[in-house]
């Protein structure tokens, strides 16, 4: 009897927890769906760098930080999914530089964009992240040695990165981060639907379900 009572209480509490989480998640999906419908620019701003065809029906919005390790780890995975579905996925980069000083790396990236080398620079920054951002010890000056490899004019970049237009982009993105309640990077939204459980497989499934919905076979 005692064991049953205690055991039953445990089971009930666990069930309540699971039911509560799934109810909350459904609510969130509904909320984001509504936001995506009513307020699409929360997800994609005019200033947002995008990769992929304009005709793509699946928008993969990624809130990221160039200094975030997991963002770097996800990059090849996202590229692979995009390559295996040519023309169907459009990647939208949004900034969520949560750590102090992380916005400097966004500024470097945006300054590289002015020289038309955005994706090459992002790629190179991710690949060399362990050199300039190893264990939270950030050394932007290491990037000055690395980035000429993609053909950037570093002197010009140093000037451009303080352009107030870039600061404005970061400000807008951070406002959207707050509105969409993005708490960690990378934060993914596929056609406005948030990635609920973080992981490679889960992201793949979310993208695949949108692909299936938008491109019926």
């Amino acid at each position: 009897m005692k064991y049953v009572l205690v055991g039953l209480s445990c089971v009930l509490l666990i069930l309540a927890f699971i039911a509560g989480s799934s109810y909350y998640k459904d609510q969130q999906i509904e909320k984001y769906g509504f936001m995506a419908e009513k307020n699409a620019e929360l997800f994609v701003r005019d200033h947002s760098p995008t990769l992929g065809s304009d005709d793509a029906k699946v928008y993969l919005v990624e809130f990221m930080d160039p200094a975030c390790e997991t963002c770097a780890a996800f990059e090849p995975f996202v590229k692979k999914i995009m390559n295996s579905n040519p023309g169907k996925i459009k990647l939208v980069i949004r900034y969520a530089p949560f750590h102090d000083g992380a916005d400097n790396f966004v500024k470097i990236l945006e300054a590289a964009r002015m020289q038309g080398k955005y994706w090459e620079t992002l790629d190179m920054m991710f690949k060399t992240q362990n050199i300039w951002a190893s264990h939270g010890h950030w050394q932007p000056e290491r990037l000055w040695e690395i980035l000429p490899q993609v053909g950037l004019d570093i002197e010009q970049l140093k000037k451009d990165m303080h352009d107030p237009a870039i600061a404005k982009i970061i400000e807008q993105d951070m406002a959207d981060v707050k509105a969409l309640d993005v708490q960690k990077t990378p934060g993914y939204f596929v056609n406005g639907k948030p990635l609920q459980v973080f992981g490679y497989k889960q992201l793949h499934q979310l993208i695949q379900s949108e692909l299936d919905a938008q491109y019926p076979k």
Binding site: K2, Y3, L5, V6, S9, C10, L13, I14, A16, F17, G20, S21, Y24, Q183
Partner: protein, 146 residues
């Protein structure tokens, strides 16, 4: 004999209610942090340190029959948790000015996440839980020292 049997049953039930309260509180606390993603502040963490182990301590005291040594082990935890919760509640309510609070990094201890019926805050819930546990344990202490 039947009278002491009856007393033992009541002791067990009181401890079980205490255990249930601790378990419900832990579930809610974990729900706030892992599902709703409320970041626990420093004071919340201290209270959690006192709360979570009580599941196992009070739980162990229930088997195979009521064990009064549970009081000795659980009372310090419940008291410490209660004191921190009391301090936290005052801080949150603004009775203690914010500039003397110890948590400046991370989440502020007065960050408002949730208020039931407009006034029941998370620190208040915590204080309620801890003081009920302390009360239950004190009742058990009196009952068993006779």
């Amino acid at each position: 004999m039947s009278q002491s049997d009856h007393a033992a049953k009541i002791n067990w039930t009181l401890l079980f209610l205490g255990w249930l309260l601790v378990s419900v509180s832990t579930t809610i606390s974990l729900f706030f942090s892992s599902v709703l993603e409320y970041q626990p502040c420093v004071l919340c963490w201290y209270q959690r340190i006192c709360l979570f182990p009580m599941i196992f301590i009070l739980g162990a005291g229930l088997f195979p029959t009521f064990d009064k040594s549970v009081i000795k082990f659980a009372l310090p935890l419940a008291t410490a948790g209660g004191l921190i919760a009391f301090y936290h509640t005052l801080l949150y309510a603004g009775v203690i000015p914010e500039n003397i609070q110890p948590c400046s990094k991370g989440v502020s201890c007065t960050e408002k996440y949730f208020e039931l019926f407009g006034f029941v805050s998370i620190p208040m819930l915590s204080f309620f839980a801890f003081s009920t546990i302390v009360a239950l344990l004190l009742i058990l202490k009196r009952r068993t020292s006779k």
